[in-house]
Symmetry: C2
Subunit: 221 residues, 2 copies
DNA sequence: GCGTTTTAAAGTGTCGACACTTCTTAGGCC
DNA sequence: GGCCTAAGAAGTGTCGACACTTTAAAACGC
């Protein structure tokens, strides 16, 4: 079955403060609490998380490899700014990974998978805000990548997700009210996607996902 | 031009002992000095690299995110074992990324790029060993990914490269002498690849690369 | 001799310390 | 006032220390 489950080395995260700080700090960056470009000093963060510098340092290293923070030549750490040029890179990489994921997910798609995705799309039609629609959108894409059964695909994809979400929050800050994602087009694209995932060929699923992700690049910049 | 160069945030690596240990330890793992599954104790490594535990710890975190080492639930660190199931995941992910890279590299391919790849293929025909052919092969694929101009594609691809090379070293240990990669087929596939990269359409380049990488999966297991 | 329990060795998680570097700000000079 | 300089503050890189946990070995009983 394609239903989400680990297939290879299950990557058990260490159960220490470093991973806790990692997850909390990531959430705070992606949610926009730390604006892009702001400095992340280890002593300050250590105090913020009521711990010492060591766990903070480890978390920063992980976040750097996720592309959410950058180390400057001087050693200082900043929240990475994700510009339009970066968005292009992100979406191209997403298209590559998710297209393959759709191909694999199609291979043994189940009716349970169809139910999950259909329910998600149904919720999209009722979404009241840009943020909610985006959350449902990412949930859906995450589900497909998970359904690929390829854990490495998922691990490569996740950093792109965080970077994309960080980008969305930033443009949402700027255009706030007068900005709306074209809901109907999104829903239509997802319906098409579900159709090929459940009853199309693997090649069709890959192609539809590729076009869908690359098309999303155009309205998000 | 598609010639290798940084396009987005240039990811300046920190100039500290942690990165030095990271690079050295990665080389030693990929070269097979530390066999798969062997324990990596921080104090031992610290002594090995003539430093303290802190830089070693940072390096291990980076290597874990590259998929070369794993952290057990008890906290111990081991060199990750890459089995046939993992190879499948690796090659599927490689196919996804490299296919997109070929598509982008084709977009503004130059004669200089053709020269580089042609020279590489020429060397492949003269390769005297499995190891040398594999090195040339990875150099070629690395070049194409770099030519995509998408730095994120490259950063996602690199860990797959290390994992793949670690796998190759392991199977080479076992089958040592009586194992040879089908050289002529590899060279022919690469000639076809060069042809579509230089004078085919982006879609053709993507398709040829996809087939080439996925086909490689079959002989390497 | 074999299995169980106790004890020592080894390893990780976290912390504070300190040297060195980088940034900031206050002071002096014109 | 504007610019350069020089303390001072803040931050990073690295280390050793120590508590706690896990592993390994030795001791013990049978």
């Amino acid at each position: 079955m394609a239903t989400p489950q680990a297939q290879s080395s299950p990557r058990a995260p260490r159960n220490n403060r470093a991973t806790a700080v990692h997850l909390r700090l990531r959430k705070e960056i992606v949610s926009g609490l730390f604006p892009q470009g702001s400095a992340l000093a280890e002593p300050t963060l250590a105090e913020h998380f009521h711990t010492s510098r060591a766990p903070v340092r480890e978390a920063l290293i992980a976040l750097e490899r996720e592309g959410l923070v950058t180390f400057e030549k001087t050693g200082r750490t900043r929240v990475r700014t994700i510009a339009a040029k970066d968005l292009r890179e992100i979406m191209e990489a997403r298209a590559a990974l998710e297209s393959m994921a759709a191909r694999l997910a199609n291979w043994n798609w189940t009716t349970a998978d169809t139910d999950f995705v259909a329910k998600n799309i149904e919720q999209q039609t009722k979404a009241g805000s840009f943020a909610e629609l985006s959350r449902l959108d990412m949930d859906l894409h995450h589900y497909v990548v998970t359904c690929s059964g390829n854990l490495r695909l998922l691990q490569l994809w996740e950093p792109l997700r965080w970077q994309y979400e960080a980008y969305l929050v930033e443009i949402f800050k700027r255009r706030s009210a007068d900005y709306y994602r074209p809901e109907t087009e999104t829903v239509l694209a997802h319906r098409k996607l579900l159709q090929v995932l459940s009853s199309g060929t693997p090649a069709e699923a890959a192609q539809v996902m590729m076009d869908h992700v690359l098309f999303n690049m155009s309205w998000a910049d």
